[in-house]
Subunit: 393 residues, 2 copies
């Protein structure tokens, strides 16, 4: 009848969503304050004032039929210019308004980029642990998802990466700051990845593209992520304002191509073609305008740092093993038993909702989203303590 | 290298966009008031006050992290319930909040529905003239676009439709009120299409789906379009608030499945899976909430009726041939010479921008979008007169 693969995709949901919905039911049963839901990456702090101030100004000053009308498919020129100027001034980026494409958020940036790049059967490499939807999006673009393990402390393993490249490798996705580990790649690590890809591209006579998926770029605690296109020119930057400006539900982001990327203009046409084919038409008009005056600004990320310090400190004291995250708002905690799903189930007894790591391509861990109210963390700590005691008996 | 089909899709643009961009250049050259741009279907009247009033209320009353956060993938439950209740109360629709999926506008409704329905090689029938992106979306879902001519006055030709159905036909797209003709199908016509599809479904033992693409539902001048699922239960309603609420750039619409549609629940799962795979995540959160309090209301459509009367009356007096539109905001005018592209080029000499009909699947016509400022129509009339005189010499 209809498409069964789509039905399965719709039914299986992500593990993350499933846990979130279990939590919603449980909150109705025993009260929201008694459930410690660390499942979703939904920003817990409001958008900075500049966003809503700009929306109010736009509503006052721009006629409705202009404000809410179609924009051109890649976005309003003045918005694309503001993004290009911001990337130039902050990172010395070599880009141009004509090579910035406004998208409906990070997932749209990914599906558009992958659909523009991949021919049927092309391989796209992801580094485990990775955002589980990467696989869905790669396969949707007709590609094959090739998983490469990361090294110690979830740092990139260059020889594993180099070993995974074949004649069909079209692109590598890099996600730093990383979901789910919070790891931020250093300049040396990005340079190392660039070296591997340059060698591979030279050997084949055509570029292997780098997709820098950066929704957490501004969410760092000290280390600034290197700007990837400055190290490797065949890099598409996939950005979203979901986390930096706490606008996850508004679906607004962008995709930028470096001017000196091989075939930049043709690649940008393919990006436009992919956006057209997938039915995006244009990114939401009001939020295109609103984010363009808030570039480089962020919601109050200090809240996340305090959350991290409080939760990380407590978990380590309880005896949990975890890499201290330098960015994003996740802790990737080693399960005290080999089976992370069993650990996640046991945690539910203490009303702790922790996402098992299997769908991230790594067994034996759980992801804890600490973008929650402070009180959730505070009240959850005894439960984390008791949970660990179960493994000490 | 990357995907050449996407590059071509991005480069060719639509004829409509191309003409629009020619117009933008021409306006810079000779002044906006001297160019009569009838190319785009961008609403010319502002959103009704209820939209912006609700946005202001939401900004005042709902905390930012809630207002702008992720919604569940099919949309906020209360919004889906409002849509289902509205369809029930206005049309006696047999639907349910659990079968309403909020989308990023009409194009997203189409790509999601087609991706949910089609397996590779499935055929989807469109009735000419048709919105040119149908072909792009059908092919994107792995399907084949099968074009059926319409009958006299662009009414549906049931025997042509029946003759085009094969064992691979998965769906038929019906678009009433129609872009580009403005024709609104009658109950008898919808019932006739339903009869053809019931016969075909019975013969094959599985349903042929009907996609009712209805962005112009509320844009009618007297005749109310029949609610298609009341005539044929395997109908997906694809709706957008782009035209009714003048929110084309905000990307907000929905898709609804009737409760008694065969396999409704599984089909809805396939729709969710398709939305996930294409990267939509959720429809824009602020506008989900805003439109839910404006259901059934519209921008000031009286402006379009007056535009229609003024332009249609004048064109007929000048000797142009045209069906009087009962809905939408387009006139589909017969070209005075067989080649519509040549006519469109000649019209440019008089600064009239008219879209040739070839990409709509019918040769020899032009589409005139009359959703423009009244003054554009008033000032364009002498040019239309002179253009026709060229054919009288």
């Amino acid at each position: 009848m209809f498409n069964k693969e789509m039905q399965t995709l719709g039914e299986e949901r992500s593990v993350i969503r499933e846990l979130f919905e279990y939590g919603a039911r449980r909150k109705r049963e025993i009260g929201a304050e008694n459930v410690f839901d660390f499942s979703l990456g939904n920003p817990g702090v409001p958008a900075p004032a500049c966003v809503e101030e700009e929306i109010l100004r736009l509503l006052r000053e721009v006629p409705g039929q202009v404000l809410h009308g179609y924009t051109s498919a890649p976005g309003l020129y003045e918005v694309r210019k503001a993004v290009a100027d911001d990337l130039k001034s902050r990172f010395g980026a070599d880009t141009d308004p004509d090579l910035v494409y406004m998208t409906c958020g990070a997932s749209a940036s990914l599906t558009v980029a992958l659909c523009a790049l991949c021919n049927a059967g092309d391989e796209v490499i992801v580094i485990a642990p990775f955002f589980p939807e990467y696989r869905v999006f790669i396969e949707g673009a007709g590609g094959k998802c090739v998983v490469v393990p990361s090294g110690k402390g979830f740092r990139p393993d260059l020889s594993a990466l180099e070993g995974a490249i074949t004649a069909r490798t079209k692109a590598v996705i890099v996600n730093s700051p990383n979901n789910p580990t919070g790891v931020v790649y250093s300049e040396e690590e990005i340079e190392g990845i660039a070296r591997v890809l340059r060698r591979a591209s030279e050997a084949r006579g055509e570029p292997v593209y780098l997709l820098a998926d950066e929704p957490y770029r501004e969410l760092t605690y000290g280390k600034t992520p290197p700007f990837v296109p400055n190290f490797y020119k065949e890099t598409l930057v996939l950005y979203s304002f979901s986390k930096s400006l706490s606008l996850a539900g508004e679906r607004i982001g962008y995709l930028s191509v470096p001017k000196n990327c091989a075939g930049a203009k043709e690649l940008f046409a393919a990006i436009s073609g992919a956006g057209r084919r997938l039915g995006f038409v244009c990114a939401p008009a009001l939020f295109q305008r609103a984010v363009s005056v808030c570039l480089g600004r962020t919601a109050d990320l200090g809240v996340y740092r305090e959350n991290r310090d409080l939760l990380y400190g407590a978990l380590v004291r309880f005896g949990y093993e975890c890499v201290s995250p330098d960015g994003a708002f996740y802790l990737f905690v080693k399960s005290p038993e080999p089976d992370a799903k069993a650990f996640s189930e046991r945690a539910k007894k203490f009303e702790l909702l922790l996402v098992p790591s299997d769908s991230f391509g790594v067994p034996g861990y759980v992801r804890i989203s600490y973008c929650v109210e402070r009180s959730v963390i505070e009240h959850s700590l005894p439960a984390f303590g008791k949970l660990m005691e179960e493994y000490r008996k």
